[in-house]
């Protein structure tokens, strides 16, 4: 087990391209941390710097308090699972598992014991004598995981290991990885661009953009209190609706106003947002905060919003409605409602918005305005 600390870690290629900038992050001993972000945000580069596969341009990497910047990957006692599995194609599954152990001069009996244990745990026993080319994607993924596990390293680095699997297998492996982490209690860093993986697997998630850490926190805290419009728009599908609007003070109350939407903010929020009264802002509305009946829209009963349906996506347990505010002239927003009622494109519906869930962002910095914390509960 290991605690991993990054202090102002920066990676620059050819002194020009800055891939990672000033990353400060501590991953606790035994923690499951997820690096989340779009392609090219620097998450894999950060992971590779931790593994030692990329040099650190500046800053410090500490594992268990020891500076590891210049330590060879082979001496860091970490294991990595690659996106493309990176199995040794000319070796059998057994040889793939044993390779790292042989290099560490473990005794033959110990190698066999570990391989037996891992293959039983991952269900790869029957394929130990096969080559990677003879395995399916899911089986290869298990072998790659097994190769990492069998070494019993200080920490596991997982570089998008599920992204090449089909949706069903991905869901299964997601669950298995979570169970595995619980069982081993090992430090794991999982890189992904899939926010479902991040939300379901991570004890904490670290959201990155353009080489910088944007927000770190528990998944539901990040989800409920996104630091800026990027995080708000990145997490969840469909993402938060971000509408240009303004805050208006009227009759002793503060209103969030955009075309076809006028919402009186709860008092606690009004006080927090008072500094932005009368200013342009970005209003954030989560699709799932729209409800079909007022009784489900929070203690305040919800704000009735009349929408014109433009697209209906019936997903099974829920329906995603794309709908326009102010008839078809207003901005289009996404809403998520329970499955059951049928909606017609072009029809007008009234949904009830839970005003306690509103998000407001500064229009210039795109940062969320500080508000009373809505805890993860």
């Amino acid at each position: 087990m290991a605690a991993i600390e990054l202090r102002a870690v920066t990676k620059t290629y050819a002194n020009v391209v800055s891939a990672v900038r000033n990353v400060d992050l501590t991953i606790g001993d035994g923690e499951f941390m997820v690096f989340l972000g779009p392609s090219g945000c620097g998450k894999s580069t950060t992971l590779r710097m931790i593994a030692g596969l990329e040099d650190i341009t500046s800053g410090d990497l500490l594992i268990d308090g020891v500076r590891m910047n210049d330590v060879d990957p082979s001496k860091r006692d970490l294991a990595i699972v690659f996106q493309n599995y990176a199995l040794y194609p000319h070796m059998s599954v057994r040889e793939n598992l044993a390779f790292g152990l042989k290099l560490r001069h473990l005794e033959r009996a110990e190698i066999a014991r570990r391989i037996d244990g891992i293959s039983a745990m991952l269900g790869i026993g029957p394929m130990l004598d096969r080559r990677p080319a003879q395995l399916s994607g899911g089986q290869r993924q298990r072998v790659a995981l097994g190769r990492a596990l069998v070494r019993e390293p200080k920490a596991f680095l997982l570089d998008e290991p599920l992204s090449n699997l089909d949706a069903k297998l991905r869901a299964t492996m997601r669950t298995e990885l979570i169970k595995l982490h619980r069982r081993l209690g090992a430090t794991m860093i999982h890189v992904t661009h899939d926010q479902v993986e991040a939300m379901t697997m991570g004890e904490r998630i670290c959201i990155m953009r353009d080489g910088e850490v944007v927000q770190v926190g528990r998944p539901l805290d990040v989800y409920r209190n996104p630091a800026d419009t990027f995080v708000a728009g990145f997490l969840a599908t469909p993402p938060m609706n971000l509408l240009p609007g303004r805050l208006e003070a009227e009759g002793g109350q503060l209103h969030a106003v955009t075309d076809g939407f006028r919402c009186a903010l709860p008092r606690a929020y009004a006080e927090a947002y008072a500094s932005h009264a009368g200013r342009e802002v970005i209003i954030g509305l989560r699709p799932e905060d729209f409800h079909e009946t007022p009784d489900r829209a929070g203690a305040l009963g919800g704000l009735p919003v009349t929408l014109t349906v433009t697209t209906v996506e019936a997903l099974g347990p829920e329906t995603v409605l794309m709908a326009s505010l102010m008839g078809e002239a207003g901005p289009e927003i996404a809403t998520r409602v329970d499955f059951g009622r049928e909606y017609e494109v072009g029809s007008r519906v009234t949904l009830h918005y839970d005003t306690a869930q509103i998000h407001v962002f500064d229009v210039e910095t795109t940062k969320a305005l500080a508000r009373p914390l809505v805890s993860a509960g």
Binding site: A51, G52, L53, D72, P73, S74, R76, L78, A79, I80, F82, N84, Y85, A86, L87, Y88, P89, H90, M91, F99, G100, L103, R104, R147, R151
Partner: protein, 300 residues
Amino acid sequence: MTTSVVNNAPNRIHVHDRRFGWLLTMPGLALLLLVIAFPVLWALFTSLFEYTLINPGFHTYVGAGNYAKALGDPEFLHSIRVTAMFVVAVVVLEFALGFLIALMLNDTERGKDLYYAILLCPLLMNPVVVGLIWRMFLHPSLGIVNYLLGRIGIPPVNWLGDVDVAFWTIVMVDIWHQVSFMIVLLLAGLAALPREPYEAARVDGASSLQCFWHITLPLMRPVIVVTLLIRMIFAVKTYDLVYIMTRGGPGVATDFISYFIYRSAFVGLDLGEASAMSGILLVIVLAMTAYLHRSMRAIS
């Protein structure tokens, strides 16, 4: 009816395409038959007769007599031995040197194209030109090699006239000429290797040498096999260098099969026996080609 027309249409087009394809390839095939198949068949036919340039003609049928004579000829067997030694020497040395340079080039970022261009130069040269250049360089009294050796106090070497040295001189010149071939093929193979297993091996704890031994060599095996076989086939047929540089000498020190066959045909004037020897060489090369073919099929 309609169905049958629809079903037959692609077949008709297919047959038509095939005929048209044959028509297009016909001139090329005819040329190949004329310049390759005919001489080979003529030589094989000749090998069954007592055919000399003094008394040309297919008058005396000897069957496998010329083959038996060739295989019983100690000079021919010597030429096979010399050729085999040459093939082993050049292939092993060119492979070792070529792989080393290919590995270095593969890890080189700056100036790679320049190195590559320089290394390719010998390969682009005609073997006759290579032979002539080196014959001048290696001239015992006028050559630059002995001159340079003399400058550092080494006495002149009779590169092409000494029985113990001439063979290795031909080997050295062949390496100079052909090592680029190895480099090109091996470098292409190295460049195509996936990066991930190396990274996995590094994290697994492998050193550079262990990566080479456990990852590079096994993954390069198909490329290595094909490269070695192709090079061996070409080396077996080496003729130009020997003709230009040593004429098989001194004595019979560099009397390779190809040159020995040439001597038998155009100096000994025994076209029948020379054709039989060519047949034997053909069998050797065909066996190697078949093995190469099988290896390539297994790889693909």
